[in-house]
Symmetry: C2
Subunit: 111 residues, 2 copies
C-alpha cells in the first residue's frame, strides 16, 4: 500500500509536531510516558500511538535532552519519569522561537 490519502492533512502535521509538544509538556515539569500521552491528547487533539511515543522518549534520553528515573507510586505500576536537562531546555527554547515564527506566518496565510 502507499500514500493513500493526502486528504488527512491533520494526521500529517500532527506527526512532526509531536517532538516539540513532548518537550513543551516536559518544560512545565517532569512527567512519565503515560502521563505525557494524556497531556498530549489535550494539546494535539488526538491520541499519540505508544509505538511512537515511547521510542521518542528513549531518543530524548539518548540524546541528553532528558533524564529518566524510575519512580514507584504508592499504588500502581512503576513509572519512568522524564525531566528536561539544561540542554533539553536550551533546545526547547530554540525550537519554541522558531515555532512561533512559523506559526505566525502560517496563521497569516490561513486566515
Amino acid at each position: 500500500m502507499m500514500d493513500e490519502t493526502l486528504k488527512d492533512l491533520e494526521k500529517r502535521w500532527r506527526k512532526s509536531v509531536l517532538p516539540l509538544a513532548v518537550l513543551a509538556v516536559l518544560g512545565k515539569g517532569p512527567s512519565h510516558g503515560y502521563g505525557l500521552a494524556v497531556a498530549l491528547r489535550e494539546v494535539l487533539g488526538a491520541a499519540t500511538p505508544e509505538g511512537t511515543l515511547y521510542p521518542l522518549l528513549n531518543g530524548f534520553e539518548r540524546d541528553g535532552l532528558a533524564v529518566a528515573e524510575w519512580t514507584i507510586p504508592e499504588s500502581g505500576p512503576a513509572r519512568k519519569t522524564y525531566a528536561l536537562t539544561a540542554e533539553g531546555r536550551a533546545v526547547l527554547s530554540e525550537a519554541s522561537a522558531q515555532w512561533s515564527q512559523m506559526s505566525l506566518n502560517l496563521g497569516k496565510l490561513l486566515s
Copy 2:
C-alpha cells in the same frame, strides 16, 4: 545510520507541516512547483527539498485536491500550475480549523 539527532526539532516539525503549508499557499491562488518552493521558504523559514515537494504536488493531484495545467510563460521553461479543487478547498478549510486549535494549545504551553 539512524536517528542521530533529536536536537533538531525544527527540521522535524517542518516536515509534516509542509502539506498544510502547500495547501494554504494554493488557497491564495494557483501556483506552480517552483513558485511554491519560493513562497514556502518565506513561510517555513527554510528551503523545501524538491524531492519532497514534487511528489507531494503529484499526490494532491492524484487525490483530487488540486488540478494541474501546463502553462507556457512568455519566457522560460513551461510551468505546471496547480489550482485547488472544491474538495481541496474543503480539506484546507477543515485542516485550517484543526491547525488553529492545536496551534493555540501548543502556544499556551510554550509561553
